[in-house]
């Protein structure tokens, strides 16, 4: 799940809804902040107006009582006003004389008659602002002078409970958050569904491209194309055109490979004919000798031995050909002699070019590898090595078993494999088919190597000479790897 740590690698079906959700959250936060700030301002303005109206009415009612300093009537007005006050949630009302001594308060125990107003409240009487909000205690204070400026009678102060207003703010904020979160989630879900729908053709295309990669070139079915108009329909049709071209190229490659095989077979047949023809002259001579001097036991013995060697030589060549071309591909075992037989198949080519073969077959028992594929690869590489080597040079074949499989190394003393040919070999068949037939053998080796799940190492020496090492894993190991 390392892609989780790299947002750039997230699929579009995740990125687009997240982007929508992020944008909506940002927009929602901005709107919520604006609404909340506006609500707070409106509430304070409304509170200021209500408090002014409330205290204005009370001031008119109290003024005659305050003029007489009538404690009871002043208290009676305040007490009734507080009990009836739903306006601005008035919690406390205090009426004072101009010297800030309490005439009456709706809570007489907190503000006893005749006592001076606490300094913090007295300071509010001189404040030009008629509304002071104490956010830390969720209260607001409003005051209003009673009487005229020339003949002041006193003040009325009101303490208002801000909690109902704050509760409204919280409710509004909670509603805003809930609505915004709901809309954001909804849009993210819709975005996910839409993007998923939009990207469905990409998924189809990805599936068919993956099939091409694994070697199964198939066109996108017509029903998918019919569902998609516009860009994706056009893309599907182009893909199908491309897939057709790839399929044709693949068929061509198979045909070329078959032709290469036939050509190889032709060369082998020629070699075999030479190998068969070589002992034939001696054998015919031996037959003549037997006809004329068959009575002589020594001559008969020598001629018979010659005939036997010739026939054995022919037999070896025939058996090698039979093993190489009659055994079905995918055989689950290879014996050491299967490799040794290759010597007979390239003997003619080697002799023709005066190449010395150094044969180091260190295999001791049967191995669970695809013998036909290994022989075809080794034969191709040996023939290439013979062709690449100068006269009187040596071509070395080394085969040994390792813990994981079979290792076959073909080494020549030529001028070194060209880099593009080495790349062709390393491409395991994924490289493009070589043009003009050059490198077809190596391309075939690469494809076979891919089939058996093997690896190749190509080493070119400083003074020339090329060593190609094939590593072919055991079949069981391949299967267990594939299963893993």
């Amino acid at each position: 799940m390392t892609w989780l740590a790299r947002p750039g690698a997230w699929p579009l079906t995740v990125k687009v809804p997240l982007l929508v959700a992020g944008l909506m959250a940002a927009v929602g936060a901005a709107i919520s902040y604006t609404v909340f700030a506006r609500l707070t301002d409106e509430q304070e303005a409304q509170l200021r107006q209500l408090a002014a109206a409330h205290l204005g009415t009370l001031a008119v009612a109290i003024e005659p009582h305050l003029a007489r300093q009538d404690v009871w009537e002043t208290f009676d007005v305040l007490d009734h006003a507080r009990k009836a006050a739903t306006v601005a949630s008035t919690r406390l009302l205090v009426v004072t004389l101009p010297d800030a001594s309490v005439v009456a308060a709706s809570d007489p125990k907190a503000f006893p008659v005749g006592t001076p107003l606490p300094p913090d409240l007295r300071a509010r009487l001189g404040s030009p602002d008629d509304l002071a909000i104490d956010a830390s205690h969720d209260i607001a204070w409003s005051h209003r002078p009673i009487g005229t400026e020339a003949a002041p009678l006193g003040h009325i102060l009101a303490e208002m409970d801000m909690r109902p207003l704050i509760a409204v703010r919280r409710e509004v904020l909670a509603t805003l958050i809930a609505v915004n979160a709901g809309v954001t989630l909804l849009l993210a879900a819709v975005g996910y569904a839409l993007v998923r729908r939009l990207l469905r053709p990409i998924g189809i295309l990805d599936d068919y491209v993956e099939r091409v990669r694994t070697g199964a070139v198939e066109p996108i079915p017509a029903r998918f194309i019919a569902e998609e108009g516009g860009e994706f329909g056009r893309l599907f049709r182009r893909f199908n055109t491309m897939a057709l071209a790839v399929a044709e190229r693949e068929a061509l490659a198979v045909r070329l490979a078959d032709e290469e095989k036939l050509a190889l077979l032709g060369r082998l047949a020629s070699g075999m004919a030479h190998e068969v023809n070589n002992p034939l002259g001696g054998m015919l001579t031996a037959v003549d000798t037997l006809k004329h001097h068959g009575g002589d036991a020594a001559v008969r013995q020598r001629s018979a031995a010659l005939l036997e060697r010739g026939l054995r030589s022919i037999g070896n060549v025939v058996r090698a050909a039979l093993v190489a071309y009659k055994e079905p591909p995918g055989a689950a075992a290879m014996v050491p002699e299967d490799l040794d037989d290759l010597r007979f198949l390239i003997a003619h080519e080697a002799q023709r070019r005066h190449i010395g073969l150094v044969w180091q077959n260190r295999l001791e028992s049967a191995m669970a590898v695809d013998g036909a594929a290994v022989r075809q690869m080794a034969l191709n590489l040996l023939l290439n090595a013979c062709r690449a080597s100068p006269p009187a040079a040596s071509v070395t074949m080394t085969a040994d078993a390792s813990e994981h499989g079979l290792r076959v190394t073909i080494r020549d003393e030529g001028s070194g494999i060209p880099p593009e040919m080495a790349d062709l070999l390393r491409g395991k068949g994924s490289a493009l088919l070589p043009q003009g037939g050059r490198g077809l053998g190596l391309w075939t080796v690469a494809r076979l190597l891919d089939r058996v799940g093997g690896d190749v190492e190509v080493a070119v020496g400083a003074t020339g000479g090329t060593a190609v090492t094939l590593s072919i894993p055991f079949l069981e190991r391949r299967r267990s790897h594939a299963a893993a």
Binding site: V71, W72, F75, P112, V113
Partner: protein, 301 residues
């Protein structure tokens, strides 16, 4: 501060002479009244003054009283309420009211000009007490514990709501101004209870009958107060009229209606609402105790 009417003050009123004359005629047995005048007198409303000597804020009670009296007297009844005792006393003394339920203190002050129509009977006697009450949590154990406090009086012309406490202070050579840090009038016994219960005043002077009735009707409010001092029993606030009208048929009918309340279903309901046993024809000597306190206070001041 308006000047309080002195006993014998002569207020002028439009129909005062006519009523006096009619009353005098009736009293002297001169029955040859022209028919039109007699009809007018018979349908003239009874103007009945009320003071906060009882729970005059109870509208159900006031409606029942008006209904009962108008039924018994066969004439309309106008209940006249004013904020202070002084206003009602003034209206009564000047003949602008036919009768009024006043306090014993104004009756004593104007004893020469007023006559008793009837006196309520409370718990078997035409007597009641004055209470000095404090807030329920107040630690004071006697009157001296109230020194330096804020005190609520009911009315300067109230016996229980002012005179009794004034007298108690006078016996200590004190006045409300010297004894209390501050005092004020609430012009209603119920208001005194509210003032003390709310903490506006730490103590108050209140009619014991009103406090007792309120303890039944508004137990939550009264429970926040405690009686610190009960006075001796004194004459219950009486229903009084001008002395000159005592013998008039209207006053006589009123007295009969009041005294006869227990015999009438509506009257019994009235008495139940008032928590009274009935009304009796009281003697002026019932108020000698109040008069003695008044004299003592006057002498001290």
């Amino acid at each position: 501060m308006p000047v309080r009417l002195k006993p014998g003050h002569d207020a002028r009123r439009g129909d005062w002479s006519r009523r006096s004359v009619l009353g005098a005629l009736c009293a002297t047995g001169m029955m040859a009244i022209p028919g039109a005048v007699a009809a007018a007198t018979a349908t003239a409303p009874l103007r009945f003054g009320l003071t906060p000597v009882f729970l005059d804020s109870d509208t159900e009670l006031l409606a029942a009283l008006e209904g009962y009296l108008s039924g018994r007297l066969a004439r309309p009844v106008v209940l006249v309420k004013r904020r202070t005792y002084q206003e009602i006393t003034t209206l009564l003394v000047t003949g602008q009211l036919d009768a009024a339920w006043i306090c014993g203190f104004p009756y004593v002050q104007f004893r020469t000009q007023l006559s008793l129509v009837a006196v309520p009977v409370y718990r078997g006697q035409p007597l009641y007490q004055s209470y000095v009450i404090v807030h329920d949590g107040d630690p004071a154990s006697d009157l001296d514990g109230l020194r330096g406090q804020v005190h609520a009086f009911s009315d300067p012309d109230s016996n229980s709501g002012f005179l009794v406490t004034r007298y108690l202070l006078a016996t200590r050579k004190e006045t409300p101004a010297s004894f209390f840090r501050r005092s004020f009038f609430t012009y209603g016994h119920r208001n005194v209870v509210r003032a003390v219960a709310s903490g506006l005043a730490q103590s108050g002077s209140v009619d014991g009958y009103v406090w007792d009735v309120m303890a039944e009707m508004e137990p939550d409010l009264v429970a926040r107060t405690r009686v610190l001092h009960r006075s001796e029993r004194l004459g219950f606030p009486p229903v009084a009229c001008q002395a000159a009208r005592l013998g008039t048929p209207l006053v006589r009918d009123l007295r009969e209606a009041l005294v006869g309340m227990p015999e009438d279903a509506t009257g019994r309901e009235m008495l139940r609402l008032l928590r009274l046993d009935g009304f009796a024809v009281g003697e002026p000597s019932l108020f000698d105790g109040i008069a003695a306190m008044y004299d003592y206070v006057k002498m001290q001041s």
